[in-house]
């Protein structure tokens, strides 16, 4: 188990390094000159020449990519993520200010879409091809075909312009300092973006949960449960929900990536000051340091989610939790003769590492 966790953490770190390099390389490859792009902007004008020169050197085209990446990475590790040109502040500070807003938005959408999608997916699968299933499927296909930003605009039009229930944008009432704003204010501004993001997220989760539930319902063990007098719903309640929990976890954590992407669009439409909006501003304004920083943060969120899913997998699945330590102790034996010691006679089925076996088999057949 410890080895399993360590393996996944190591894998994550390596991937994260690669992703950070990819982001850095992409940002650097741009023909848009960051210093030039900000010329004429307040932040740049107010900068003293020394700093300007420093910036030019920092993002200079003359330094080889590897070297500037190493410099940047060294800074990132030490907490120096560079200076945001757009916001004229350290990148880490800009990110920190906005992370709270984005995390709140994402957390609400993540939980709501996850729970709702899970419930709808199971309901659809249990009533497969009935009207409940068809309604849920129709809703999901429709939403999956809907551009997130358009839905945000329509909600804005309906519930802020035509029916002014919610504010038009931002995370707080205009002119109110963050220290003066109440929690209610914050929630009021959060509501519409969060609803939009949740609704869009539901579609994917529900459709995938439906597929997985159908797989489980068609499995041998649910069949056997049915032959033992349980209805499919009862079989799910009586232990088979565990089999759904595993794919649900994977799905739920994989959806972080999608929700982050959605939050970029939703924040942009609602002028909600979060990471997504900052990323758009940074990319439009050639704010390289901020853009790279946010990209890395988004990757950390995604990989963190993957890691959490994998570790939880290990905790829940007994084939991983208990399979390995006991394996190989005794071979498959006759009835009763080896009771108690006959554990692990089947190798635990792992989701990783099994992918090469089929090739060998194919080769051996000829």
């Amino acid at each position: 188990m410890a080895r399993y966790v360590l393996f996944h953490i190591a894998k994550c770190v390596v991937l994260l390094l690669a992703v950070s390099f990819l982001c850095f390389a992409l940002v650097n490859a741009s023909p848009i000159d960051p210093v030039q792009a900000n010329l004429g902007q307040a932040a740049y004008i107010n900068m003293d020449p020394e700093k300007r020169a420093e910036l030019a050197a920092y993002w200079g085209v003359d330094a080889p990519l590897w070297e500037s990446y190493a410099n940047w990475l060294g800074g990132v590790v030490q907490g120096d993520w560079g200076i945001s040109l757009r916001y004229n502040a350290p990148v880490l500070q800009v990110i920190a200010e906005r992370t709270a807003n984005t995390l709140m938005l994402m957390a609400v959408a993540w939980v709501v879409s996850g729970l709702l999608g899970f419930a709808l997916g199971i309901a659809a699968a249990l009533h497969r091809d009935g009207w409940i299933d068809r309604t849920i499927k129709g809703y999901c296909y429709l939403l999956a075909a809907t551009p997130t930003f358009w839905l945000a605009m329509i909600f804005l039009l309906c519930f802020s312009v035509l029916l002014p229930i919610f504010p038009i944008g931002f995370s707080l009432p205009i002119g109110v300092n963050s220290s003066e704003a109440t929690l209610l204010d914050a929630l009021h501004h959060l509501a519409l973006p969060a609803i939009t993001l949740s609704l869009v997220g539901v579609a994917n989760i529900a459709l995938h949960t439906r597929e997985k539930t159908i797989d489980v319902l068609e499995s041998d063990y649910v069949r056997f449960s049915r032959m033992r007098g349980l209805s499919p719903a009862e079989a799910l309640r009586n232990g088979c929900w565990r089999n759904l929990l595993l794919p649900a976890l994977t799905l739920q954590f994989a959806s972080i990536s999608e929700i982050f992407g959605g939050s970029v669009l939703v924040e942009e439409v609602f002028s909600y000051p979060g990471l997504g909006q900052a990323a758009v501003t940074a990319a439009l304004g050639g704010d390289v340091a901020l853009l790279a920083g946010i990209a890395v943060i988004s990757a950390v969120l995604v990989f963190g989610g993957n890691l959490a899913a994998n570790i939880l997998y290990g905790v829940i699945d007994p084939r991983i939790r208990r399979g390995q330590s006991e394996s190989g102790k005794s071979a498959r034996g006759g009835v009763g003769s080896d009771v108690g010691s006959a554990r692990g006679s089947r190798p635990p089925r792992r989701m990783n590492g099994q992918r090469f076996t089929e090739q060998n088999e194919a080769g051996g057949r000829g």
């Binding site: 056997f224 349980l230 009835v335 108690g340």
Partner: protein
């Protein structure tokens, strides 16, 4: 004849007069319903424990011989007008080649239907004519199934809990006690209850599956290929468990492709060939091909190892 009519219209749809006549040896056996009896057939209360008549199982599919887009749908029968009966204290083995659709009989009796299947016929259990709903109510209780493999156990749930089931209306403590009793009876130490299916050996898994079936106090067990993957000794031990169950008053419908094994443990053999049962006869009839009526049964007899595997012999 008029007598018969009256009885048929009542719910106990049986020919009581049979009991007297049913005492024949295998060699001069008379046909009874569609089968011939073993030495001691038991028609308690004057009827069979399970009787299946004219059961057809078909799938609706596109005609594969026609061009892809022009193909029409049709009903293709996999089981065609099959009849079989199981008495109390008896093991009936349904023998036929693998993949011929024998398992569909088990599905039909257990009221477990694929979406695109058509199941039609008459099934009596304990003298009562059944429909899909009443069969579903019997499943897991009076009729229990022993499935083919450990894959029928949920890999994520401990074995003990799975044996206890979760049947409606059953008190949890009763189930737990029953499970412990069954484990003790079948030589599974109590700690097995805390294992997961992947930690069981092949033989243990079969016994666990048997315990799953016995927890509901069944009167009939439908065993669907309960022995593959076991060596001969282990397979025989599994079959002994079925024998013991039958000797205790229950009935067993053993579905298998292994006729040798079937001959060792069963009372009667039903030969499955070409979508139906061509012959239902006592094991004793397999002593010599002359007692077998259908050419396919005789071919089976000749294919037995002790008769030199000769394929022909009609």
């Amino acid at each position: 004849m008029t007598d018969l009519q009256d009885i048929r219209s009542s719910s106990a749809r049986v020919i009581q007069a049979h009991d007297a006549k049913d005492m024949h040896g295998a060699h001069d056996a008379h046909d009874h319903h569609h089968h011939r009896h073993a030495e001691n057939p038991v028609h308690t209360h004057g009827h069979h424990l399970l009787q299946v008549e004219d059961l057809s199982v078909g799938f609706r599919m596109y005609d594969p011989t026609e061009p892809f887009f022009a193909a029409k749908q049709e009903l293709v029968n996999v089981i065609d007008h099959l009849s079989i009966a199981v008495h109390e204290r008896e093991i009936v083995a349904l023998v036929g080649p693998s993949g011929a659709g024998k398992s569909l009989l088990a599905d039909a009796i257990m009221a477990c239907y694929e979406p695109n299947v058509q199941v039609e016929g008459r099934i009596w259990f304990d003298g009562e004519l059944q429909d899909a709903k009443s069969l579903a109510a019997l499943a897991g209780g009076a009729i229990a199934v022993v499935p083919q493999s450990v894959a029928s156990l949920n890999p994520l749930v401990k074995v003990g809990k799975q044996v206890q089931g979760g049947r409606r209306g059953a008190a949890k403590e009763d189930c737990a006690r029953k499970q412990q009793e069954l484990f003790a009876r079948y030589g599974l130490v109590p700690s097995v209850a805390d294992l997961y299916p992947h930690e069981l050996s092949g033989g243990m898994a079969r016994r666990v599956l048997l315990c799953c079936a016995l927890i509901g106090n069944p009167r009939l067990i439908v065993a669907d290929e309960p022995t593959p993957g076991l060596d001969e000794a282990a397979a025989l031990r599994v079959l002994e468990d079925f024998r013991a169950f039958a000797d205790g008053g229950g009935g067993v419908l053993l579905i298998t492709h292994d006729i040798e094994l079937a001959l060792r443990v069963a009372d009667r053999i039903a030969v499955f060939h070409d979508k139906t049962i061509v012959e239902e006869t006592s094991v004793a009839s397999f002593a010599s091909p002359e007692h077998l009526q259908h050419p396919f049964s005789r071919a089976l007899w000749h294919a037995l190892p002790e008769h030199g595997f000769s394929a022909a012999g009609e």
